[in-house]
Amino acid sequence: MNEQPIYLDYNATTPVDPRVVEAMLPYLHEHYGNPSSDHAYGRRAKAAVEEARAKVAALIGARSEEIVFTACATEANNLALQGAARARLAEGRTLLVASAVEHPSVIRPLRQMAAEGWSVTELPVDAAGRVRVNEAARAVTQDTAVVSVMLANNEVGTLQPIREIAAIARAQGALMHVDAAQAAGKVPVDVNALGADLLTLAGHKFHAPKGVGALYVRAGTPLLPIMHGAGHERGLRPGTENVPHVVALGEAARIARECLAEEAARLAALRDALHGRLAAAIPALVLNGHETERLPNTLNLAFPGVEGWRLLEAAPDIAAATGSACHAGQHAVSGVLAAMGCDRARALGAVRLSLGRFTTQAEVEAAAAALIAAWQSLQA
């Protein structure tokens, strides 16, 4: 038995890459200045922040000045939605459009804004979790302020047809927001190829530490801040810059960009090997999500005849989840699977296995064996 369980929950969070730790540590004790301070300590910190901004921009094909650092993806999503919707109120654009499978940090702010008087339209998805482009074309009107669709779903990994949806948004003069928290570092993300006006990044999903994220804001995009203060980040996000973490995000972005293609191929092979082993031993195992248009690391499976959380309880050597960490603790049906039209039994049998940079072939083999044994033990 392993001392620590096998970690297959990289979509919940990732360990910080040791190279990233190394890059950030000097900014804790040695170069600790406040970037707003006009002395050597401050200037050093400011230079580090700007260098990191360029690295983050490079990961997504943006310009440095289009990157706004935030505390996390939740904040970036709130800033994008609340900030853009409020900025466009004067134009009379009061409609917000989002897919039915968005993360709570998109759904909840929209719900709040609906309570404040905005109209919100939800775009349905197909059985694989993809937004139907023709539905988007119907939903987005000249009243639409923002369209928000995630690039990759956190639970099932399905990739959305962002380019097509963004073209629809642009044609109606609406802004396109893309939550790329789960996608960045796993698949190529290019703001221009996607047609995104606003795009959310989460550091801790690609081996930067928790507590830092970023929002891409295309030059010229109307946006109002949601926090008020001393005018950092071009007035869009006040608060002393979190220098060590910004540096870490930059380094994580650099590494992700460097090893993206190779790593995606390696993870897809491991994931498919895991899927193959499980499917061979468990008849009627069903994949949740899209067969091909999917993150290379994500495997969401409906185990027949068991509830996902019972299966994980019976396999304590595996660290995985039944759904998103953000609504963990409830043994309820996942909203994402419900939106995909999964029936209750299938949805309750779901387990999300998500692989990452430190996952090995040996771990995948051991995990498959442990999950099969656990499933069999529950069949008695």
């Binding site: 301070s37 002393t240 220098v243 960490a325």
Partner: protein, 403 residues
Amino acid sequence: MVKTPIYLDYSATTPVDPRVAAKMIPYLTEHFGNPASRSHSFGWEADRAVEAAREQVAALVGADPKEIVWTSGATESNNLAIKGAAHFYKGKGKHLITVKTEHKAVLDTCRELERQGFEVTYLGVKDNGLLDLDEFKAALRPDTLLASVMFVNNEIGVIQDIPRLGEICREKGVLFHVDAAQAAGKVEIDLAKLKVDLMSFSAHKIYGPKGIGALYVRRKPRVRLEAQMHGGGHERGMRSGTLATHQIVGMGEAFAIAKQEMHLENERIRMLRDRLLKGVSDIEEVHVNGDPDARIAGNLNVSFNFVEGESLIMAIKDLAVSSGSACTSASLEPSYVLKALGRNDELAHSSIRFTIGRFTTEAEIDYAVKLLHEKIGKLREMSPLWEMYKDGIDLDTVQWAAH
């Protein structure tokens, strides 16, 4: 031999204490779980660390751990406290009170509320930087829902009479928010006794990491807030977003160290500050800004009359100091805090904030004193105003020719 530049800007930010960093690092790589993950030990372990840190933060300030909400820093805490309370209690009234010398995170948040239809009274301060309690009392109205007063001012270090202000607010049924970013670890804070409903904290001002803070939200009597960021419903719905375990662990440790060491440390820092003050007080025309007694140990804000602030900072660039708050240092405007004290533009322009901290040494202070003597002498030799002053001309009566 001292290493330059000497850091005397501890109110802008502080280095992370090596003991704090040592606690944080294992939570980056080894115990990296998401505290919200409920289905495995990585998550459980992270969650335990978060709760232990919550106890450490609560312990320094006499709060119940359940009253601590994690945020990304004092700016977010101030936003959440003021807007969150104003939005939740807007049925009760639309009036707020704050002070002209508050941090921008409070003032700018209040301006936003004005745009949303709230009314805000911005109280002035006495020439020592302290609030006039009678004036404060008189400003409270039946429709006042919240008052926000900082514990310790970031520029001049003065300590407001939070116990009395709290009594006044409680008596009138007005919520009381205190920005304690500059106070925690420097002054005694006991929320079991203080009549404070909401209090903002920052980690990077007390040797914890940047990017993490907390908001105290009183449970008895219960204070409610409308969340400003929405999502997974973390922090009992008051603040969504994945908790940064290592950051929280760092803040907890920084607060625990402060609880252990603040009394001894304050003694040492006060001694250094007094040494600095004594060292510069034989320079002519030196004025201390802010009350000499009701101020934290580490702060000395002085105006060197007849010396232009920017040239002074250039001349003493071996000292990392600021002319005011770091958050407004990009502007060439004189400090709004000093102007609120009634200082004229010249004096405000010639002021320097020295803030002393955990790693400041006596040798560094002596070096600073020597440098200040040298450079101020030189700058004044070149100053026509100084010459006129020395000639006994009252500069206020001079008619300057336009050109």
